[in-house]
Homo-oligomer: 199 residues x 2
Amino acid sequence: MKELAEPIRRLIEELKRLPGIGTKTATRLAFHLLRQPPEDVERLAAALRDARESLRTCAACHNLTDQEFCEFCRSESRNRRQVCVVESPQDIINLERTGRYQGLYHVLGGVIAPLSGVTPEQLNIKTLLARLEPNTVEEVIIATNPTAEGDATALYLAKLLKPLGVRVTRLAVGLPLGGELEYTDAGTLQHALDARREL
Amino acid sequence: MKELAEPIRRLIEELKRLPGIGTKTATRLAFHLLRQPPEDVERLAAALRDARESLRTCAACHNLTDQEFCEFCRSESRNRRQVCVVESPQDIINLERTGRYQGLYHVLGGVIAPLSGVTPEQLNIKTLLARLEPNTVEEVIIATNPTAEGDATALYLAKLLKPLGVRVTRLAVGLPLGGELEYTDAGTLQHALDARREL
């Protein structure tokens, strides 16, 4: 990229560090940004900086927040008897979109993955156990991804939590809405069969 | 997106203004950025700001540069008898990648497009004519895109330039390398036939 002025080259290099952004997209984005009014670019730069500086993790559930507790933990209308355990804060967005869940959350910060060197100690499990102590939580819904590691983490948590007298559940695995049997993998289909329901 | 803390929501909104970035990608990028060390995010914010602030257009050819003249216009090794006319600075990157061109450039800043209200006066045509005055330029290669508007602009320029005694050429249109006749549109195929060469 020697044909580019240094500030563009540097901007492209920085954009390329983003996930899913290759040289072509980074170049297109950079040139697009250079055509925008300086205020717009300034607003993006400020939003980046502010978000990174002002956000921290909720003292109770580890969700991202700009206050001490996240809005779910602060809310008076959420059901405090249910806690849904997710891998990351993004997962909360999708669960909220269903409109079906009114309880609290707990962000693990990943899954147990010995091959990548992630042990249970590195996840937010101790704080989860602490939240169950006052005996106000009746159900823990484990919403880790239905992957080998997500499943192993779910089993590990179930083993820890059940002796505490709490109900432990896991999201159902089955055919996606609008999916086709022809294109569904055998593992998913197997789960869909095993978990078939009366009509 | 009421389920998100305000600084993330604002960052996502700003990222969504970028071309080709929808809500999902913007959300993924935002959460990725929040997991990065603050220095990395700061570097991206600074690169954005610097690029927008320090870049201007070359006083001779309108390419983007952080100096008065771009590196092509400053270079002593480029062939000053050829000027390649492109629509935008991005086009220069791709032409440079061919390694086949050693002349100078001239960035039009768009194409004549009456329907979008772009008239010849809004393009960098006057400065192109001024560059030809010292009679040092022998050939102007018109490298506007092979679209209706790019073609019309090329014809318009040819009409202006030829009377000045300069050679005016245009990039060839034909089958792309590795392309297949079966999937080539009739217009391209017609050009490829008309411009067929002896073997």
